[in-house]
């Protein structure tokens, strides 16, 4: 039984949050991880997510919004089931990162921070993801794919469409 009546989260996540706020010297330290984990489950940081997290930690919703707007991985609008994040920072750029980004745009028919009409993919150009030595690299949700070519991207997209993609959470 969650500490919050009528929690919007799954029983597993609610239980995890019940514990998470207790492990730090200050409850508020749980805020950034909670926002991200809630987004993983709900798909985005919705108003309901903000309200419940504020209540769990004992903050104003305004404080939660203030923090969440700072972090680039947190979003307040839904994205596709698989968020394709293409790195175009220097190391990836030198090895074809922009070619990969263009290919993704063309293949999915969407631009930066847009979602396909079937809701399967969204696309995002991101800054360095820490895969510089294996560039060009992308992340699909939390899963890294590196040393890419447009052909390899096609195979990946098909894999995810077929439900064979790894979905690290």
């Amino acid at each position: 039984m969650s500490e919050i009546a009528n929690t919007i989260f799954s029983p597993e996540l609610a239980a995890r949050f019940d514990k998470l706020v207790t492990i730090y010297p200050l409850r508020r330290s749980a805020l950034v991880p909670m926002l991200l984990y809630a987004q993983d489950e709900v798909g985005y940081v919705s108003d309901a997510v903000i309200a419940e997290i504020a209540e769990r930690i004992g903050l104003l919703e305004l404080d939660v919004r203030n923090v969440l707007s700072y972090y680039s991985m947190l979003r307040t609008k839904p994205a596709g089931k698989y968020n394709v994040q293409v790195c175009t920072n220097i190391s990836c750029m030198l090895r074809g990162g922009y070619e990969i980004l263009d290919h993704c745009k063309h293949k999915l028919g969407i631009g930066h921070k847009e979602t396909t009409s079937d809701g399967v993919f969204s696309l995002e150009e991101v800054e360095c993801i820490g895969a510089c030595c294996w560039a060009p690299a992308i992340q699909i949700n939390y899963d890294f794919h590196d040393d890419l070519t447009p052909e390899k991207v096609d195979v990946l997209f098909q894999m995810y469409r077929d439900g064979q993609g790894k979905d690290v959470k």
């Binding site: 991880p33 510089c132 294996w134 890294f144």
Partner: protein
């Protein structure tokens, strides 16, 4: 999955367990794991700090501050609890060494955290990983859980009566949080903006308590140093730059990868021998030697040893150890623009010189790149960058200014040619592409 590379010139200390399955706790123990921390418990804080000082280990995040000295700054007596904070928010473009470390040897980070805790008299350590590294966070979380299960963490560790806890934490996307005071803000559940210093974290840090903050690679070196002895570790490196370091060589080289080389190793050899030289037989044009914030180097400047002092003398920095190699086809104007676009995106907006400076440099370089620049633009870019230097709470402003100044100074003609309508190099991106996402 990152591929492991190797070269005969490597000296494997922090990477010696890579590829051996050491993420498994039993394997880690078999490979001398958790021995150093037990010795540290037996011999006490003074011994630990002396060995760390003797090792000459300097911060691997980029600042190069001597680790042993940093640990010794923490007051012995403190009313507030003391903390160890491990910075695994690896976000400096060109840097992916901690990625490999967390993947292959997470226990060395945990053991190092414990050793730092023993040295300063702390009972709680935090290991903070950037949000994008979720699969690595899982690996570290499992390692921490396994260590608790064995009685290596928690109450009465190894039956010695000592208590030590470790909490893992995820970020959620912010380059700025890699700065130590911003990292503490983030861990306290706030926006990751920097704090003014002094007071330094060693005195007033996390939750107001004395705090040691070290890069993950720095911390992972601690167990190795205690096992081999500080002096032996120091001898592996160069003068006042003890030991070895993980270098991530990326960009236009034949064999990109993370290599562990002795401090002071030749930059030329790192590029031409270790990483196999310039890709496809092309010519070298420039090197960004330690992550995107380091001033660019020319091909004639690479006969220099890779350590903090020699790189400093050469007018650049060793930085985070991420060496980015550019071949003759690269347009420096484009590369400079992509670099400043990153800093403009990541500037947290707290300090005006950084917030406005990065934006104006980006705007001006965009105009130059687009062919609409005017003659004063090159000087203006340099003027803007120079006025950011040293005028911000944290080093992000400097990190944006320093490479910009170097690009303009060392490749001035290329910028002027762009303004005159002669574009050097082979541009990859259009202005629309660049502005679209940033």
């Amino acid at each position: 999955m990152p591929t492991l590379v190797s070269h005969p010139d490597e000296v494997k200390v922090v990477s010696r367990r890579f590829g051996q399955g050491a993420a498994d706790i039993d394997k880690y123990v078999e490979l001398d794991g958790y021995k150093a921390v037990q010795e540290a418990i037996a011999k006490g804080p003074e011994w630990i700090i002396n060995e760390m000082k003797a090792s000459g280990l300097r911060g691997r995040g980029g600042a190069g501050f001597p680790t042993g000295m940093k640990w010794s700054f923490v007051p012995k007596q403190s009313e507030k609890p003391k903390y160890v904070l491990v910075n695994g928010d690896e976000s400096e473009p060109g840097t992916c060494k901690d990625h490999v470390l967390f993947l292959h040897d997470p226990h060395s980070v945990i053991e190092g955290t414990m050793i730092a805790g023993l040295a300063i008299g702390s009972k709680l350590g935090f290991i903070y990983l950037r949000g994008e590294y979720r699969y690595l966070l899982k690996i570290v979380e499992k390692a921490v859980a396994d260590a608790y299960a064995k009685g290596f963490l928690g109450k009465n560790i190894f039956g010695t009566g000592v208590d030590f806890d470790v909490i893992t934490q995820t970020g959620a996307g912010a380059y700025e949080v890699g700065e130590e005071s911003a990292l503490m803000e983030s861990l306290e559940g706030k926006r990751g903006v920097p704090r003014i210093k002094p007071p330094f974290p060693a005195v007033v840090g996390l939750y107001g308590g004395p705090t040691v903050i070290n890069n993950a690679e720095t911390i992972a070196n601690a167990p190795h140093i205690l096992l081999m002895g500080g002096e032996a570790y120091a001898k592996l490196g160069s003068e006042r730059n003890g030991g070895t370091r993980l270098f991530g060589i990326s960009g236009h080289v034949e064999r990109p990868g993370v290599y562990e080389l002795p401090m002071g190793y030749s930059l030329r050899k790192a590029i031409y021998d270790v990483a196999g030289g310039i890709k496809d037989g092309k010519k070298l044009k420039a090197i960004v030697p330690g992550g995107s914030s380091c001033p660019v180097m020319l091909p004639e400047e690479i006969d220099v040893g890779l350590d903090f002092d020699q790189m400093g003398k050469a007018g650049t920095m060793l930085g985070s150890g991420g060496i980015v190699v550019l071949d003759e086809t690269v347009s420096i104007v484009e590369f400079a623009l992509r670099t400043i676009a990153f800093y403009q995106h990541e500037s947290c907006g707290w300090c005006i010189p950084c917030r406005e400076g990065t934006d104006w440099i980006k705007k001006t370089l965009t105009r130059v790149y687009n062919g609409g620049g005017n003659k004063k633009d090159v000087d203006n870019v340099q003027y803007l960058a120079e006025n950011m230097l040293g005028r911000t709470f944290c080093p992000l402003g400097d990190a944006a200014a320093m490479p910009t100044i170097a690009f303009v100074k060392k490749f001035r003609k290329e910028f002027e040619d762009y303004i005159a309508g002669n574009k050097a190099g082979t541009p990859i991106i259009t202005v629309e592409q660049l502005v679209g996402a940033h």
